[in-house]
Symmetry: C2
Subunit: 181 residues, 2 copies
Amino acid sequence: MKELELQKAFTLIEPGPVTMISTRGRDGRPNAMTLTWITVLDWGPTFALCTGPWNYSYEALVSEKECVVNIATADMLETILKVGTCTGREVDKFAKFGLTEVKGSKVTAPIIGECWASVECKVVDHVERHNIFVLEGVKAWHNPDHKDKRLLHAIGDGTFTADGEVFHRRAEMGEKLPPAV
Amino acid sequence: MKELELQKAFTLIEPGPVTMISTRGRDGRPNAMTLTWITVLDWGPTFALCTGPWNYSYEALVSEKECVVNIATADMLETILKVGTCTGREVDKFAKFGLTEVKGSKVTAPIIGECWASVECKVVDHVERHNIFVLEGVKAWHNPDHKDKRLLHAIGDGTFTADGEVFHRRAEMGEKLPPAV
């Protein structure tokens, strides 16, 4: 994994990919959940993620106040399905699904080595009435050699799409783009 | 436009598409903004959208407490670029860009007739410290005859992608899917 400028971290989340949120519980166990309910809140690395007590990762987010947002790609469809359909309460997902724990530099939550890119995040607020965790990215990584860089998008009914045609329209966006990207 | 079951409205937002948020100001003028900073908050039609006072639509969201979330598709790239790079303070975007105002059934904000699908929404909360508007969908529509149903995703650096390969994995999702979809 190579460092990615933190100012570019929002470009990993803005397209609406399927992510895996990795955490480490108070007991030291690593865990991951598949999640698509996340949005950018700013051109800085600030994100809002939605999850609640029904999810085992919730406990670690509340107690440890950190996580890693890992970006899945189309070649990882089987993994995100497996990770998303069982609970860390019963399963050691890293062991069972062969996920590689990579040590982060700013958080103790593990980076998932198989992902294309990852953002180490601190939980900076918890808007409990809407099950929103506000995250601030503190370090970003990407693997330039990751073969399949097509993001996955979840429709929510069991259908997923991968990125297809690409359009480069930077010139027309002009001053609407933040200077750092 | 045909009615879409409200329980399926989240499937329009979950994949992370580029949207156009349409509003009608206190003065009766329609407006629209291009927006990708939006996420599902629930399997019900509850969404969180991020915008602030720097955006002209903000005033209408605050004063009228309603909007329509319109889903753009790949054939609408030119439109979302035009709508996204000027302000309703200076431009009547519906007139200038040939957008069709379709009357909604539950909100006075206009549906954009050119879009593939639209969700009429009420603003049910405003988390000001994070510029988050919480929306509740009250009526959903889609156009089954819309030719290009590929969603658009914004990277945030002037690059956009359209949906490509599709994967049907309903069977593996099992009980993780809400019953209505």
